[in-house]
């Protein structure tokens, strides 16, 4: 990267932090915009981590919700303060874990446990070709969900009851800083020798192998790293929601993230981030009005009723999938140079016209 671009990026980053600080100062803390920002950050991270596997390595895995669940539970179980355990684990005599760790240790453990599980199932699962891999990972996520609801494990997972009272965050800066740091690490990885090897595997497995790239090892590595960040994302989601239940980590969550990845563009980190914020903002905020009946004067606007939002949303997604299959960004990145050249070209075109 050119020095100028590094400086511009750093300035943009600082500006984003400043914007968050200002928003938090002037908006009421319960304002929907702040919620969208928080959730958007977390979804950016999980979408980018899914993109690392599906977009950059070309492995079509659908286990994201499962790894997020592991992360969320690991974080929650490890960080609930000892004093609160009796009330949280009320049906299980306070559970068997009688210690708690700091927030960052909890988040790190969330990622590590998700990565460990990915490592364990990676060997058999990653041998499967595309569709079968998707089915196997989807099945794995469902099994994990059932496993965490199992009453026998209640002393650790609280069975099908909620986990709550673990430390959460109030400021939007927290998820923003953690997620941007994680995404930065993923970007560094993508641009390293290993990232190139993943890219080669995506382009042509047989050629990659002929170039000395150990397929099993590199696929497993990508799977573990992707799961690590999905786990961290799950931990952050637990913090955002303030209470969690295994039930909510359904495959629908994986599909949401997959949609974000596809809308943003397979193989584009910035695409995934932009799509995350657009997706969260539309589904939780901008399209909300579709769910409430509205009358203008005497005229009752047709179609607007509870559930209509989902219909419109599905149609938008179908249109994107049908007509813009490469997503917003394709596999390009949003870059300073790109914007500069865009405006330069715009200038040139105008000159030609005049």
């Amino acid at each position: 990267m050119k020095k100028r671009n590094v400086i511009i990026c750093a300035l943009l980053y600082l500006a984003a932090i400043l914007a968050i600080v200002v928003l938090e100062k002037f908006l009421p803390p319960t304002h929907i915009a702040l919620a969208v920002l928080k959730k958007g950050c977390i979804y950016s991270l999980v979408a980018v981590s899914m993109n690392l596997l599906n977009g950059f390595t070309g492995l079509f895995s659908l286990g994201q919700a499962g790894f997020m669940l592991i992360g969320a539970y690991t974080y929650a179980v490890l960080t609930i303060p000892v004093a609160e355990r009796d009330s949280v684990y009320m049906y299980f005599d306070g559970g068997i874990i009688q210690f708690s760790v700091p927030v960052f240790v909890g988040l790190l453990a969330a990622g590590l446990l998700a990565a460990l599980l990915a490592w364990l199932i990676g060997l058999p699962v990653l041998r499967l070709k595309s569709d079968y891999l998707a089915i196997a990972t989807l099945g794995f996520a469902e099994i994990i969900r059932a496993f965490f609801q199992w009453d026998e494990l209640g002393v650790i997972t609280n069975g099908s009851n909620m986990l709550r009272k673990y430390p959460t965050f109030t400021t939007t800066l927290f998820p923003f800083l953690v997620c941007s740091a994680c995404i930065a690490v993923i970007v560094l990885l993508i641009h390293s020798s290993y990232g190139r090897a993943f890219h080669a595997i995506r382009d042509d497995e047989i050629a990659a192998e002929a170039m000395g790239i150990n397929l099993a090892k590199h696929k497993r590595l990508s799977f573990c790293i992707s799961s690590f960040f999905a786990g961290v994302g799950g931990g952050l989601l637990a913090m955002y929601q303030t209470s969690i239940q295994a039930m909510t980590f359904k495959s629908a969550m994986t599909y949401e993230i997959l949609l974000i990845v596809v809308i943003g563009g397979l193989g584009s980190v910035t695409g995934s981030c932009i799509a995350s914020f657009l997706f969260i903002a539309s589904s939780e905020w901008w399209l909300r009005f579709l769910d409430t009946e509205m009358t203008i004067g005497n005229f009752k606007v047709p179609l607007l009723r509870a559930g209509f939002r989902k219909v419109v949303f599905s149609i938008i997604i179908m249109v994107i999938v049908l007509f813009a299959r490469k997503g917003i960004m394709g596999d390009h990145e949003f870059s300073i140079d790109g914007i500069c050249s865009f405006f330069k070209n715009l200038g040139k075109k105008k000159e030609v016209k005049s």
């Binding site: 290993y194 890219h199 192998e209 000395g212």
Partner: protein
């Protein structure tokens, strides 16, 4: 007598009931250019795939510089359905993935070009340096390997310069003209520092002028990189011009072997393969 580089012994590759390679034995010695010729579907590419670990041969052994690379015998379902020869001779199974074999020093190109088409020319060659790098994913991610990365990039650039591809280094490989893609694929194979280079129909789709240049190019890389070359090719002028020895394959079986003159005058080869095309 120069060192033996590649030795293929009794290799049979059977797909279901089809014997694609039938009891093939051959040798390639250091510094030689040896050609494998034969009609379409004779099993030439399959033979390459058995050598490079893409397929596990049904029966037989492959060794490289005297070291055993691959060995197998009919097992599992194949035990009953095997219709090839030498069924009892091999009793060991040694299977290696293609990346291990590349690491041993055998590089290859593919009949239907297989570049990393969405990557640049530079990255295509740089990939080859990954396998011998000492970094791990953490040192690579956090740029603690910058000395190594720098060396990898320098070696890549050097190779591109030698191959006269440096002016194209930032082009996307998939968008290059066909002939250049072929050359890039060879350059990429060279970047793995091979001792033996397997070329699968490198002149396919080239005009006579380009074919002539390719012949010169193959000789040149053999000398410059001290390589041994094993080549599958249909262009007879090219084959006869550059190869020291030839093996002729027909229906998976070895039909003949010898120097270009011997092969050109071999009646069986003329009937089965060279035949009309040489007369016309």
């Amino acid at each position: 007598m120069s060192t033996n580089v590649l030795r293929v012994e009794d290799v049979t590759m059977q797909f279901g009931g089809v014997v694609a390679v039938d009891n093939l034995s051959l040798e390639v010695n250091e510094g030689e250019i040896v050609a494998l010729i034969g009609p379409n579907g004779a099993g030439k590419t399959t033979a390459f795939n058995c050598i490079t670990g893409v397929y596990e041969p049904t029966n037989g052994r492959v060794s490289f510089y005297g070291k055993e690379l691959v060995e197998s015998y009919p097992h599992g379902k194949m035990k009953k359905t095997y219709i090839g020869e030498n069924a009892g001779r091999y009793t060991k199974r040694l299977v290696q993935t293609p990346d291990k074999i590349t690491k041993e020093g055998i590089a290859r190109t593919f009949q239907n070009i297989r570049l990393f088409s969405s990557m640049t020319v530079f990255e295509n060659v740089l990939i080859a340096k990954h396998m011998r790098a000492k970094q791990n994913f953490l040192t690579a991610t956090f740029r603690l390997n910058h000395a190594e990365e720098k060396r990898m990039r320098e070696e890549t650039m050097e190779l591109l310069k030698m191959q006269h591809l440096d002016h194209l280094k930032d082009e996307i490989a998939g968008s290059l003209p066909y002939g250049i893609q072929r050359r890039l694929e060879i350059a990429r194979a060279l970047a793995t520092n091979p001792k033996l280079l397997l070329l699968d129909e490198p002149a396919a789709g080239m005009n006579p002028q380009e074919t002539l240049e390719l012949a010169e190019f193959i000789r040149q890389i053999r000398d410059e990189y001290k390589l041994t070359i094993f080549i599958i090719e249909h262009h007879m002028d090219l084959v006869m011009q550059i190869s020291d020895r030839l093996y002729v394959l027909d229906f998976g079986k070895l039909l003949a072997q010898g120097t270009p003159e011997e092969i050109q005058n071999d009646q069986r080869v003329i009937d089965a393969y060279l035949g009309v095309s040489e007369d016309a």
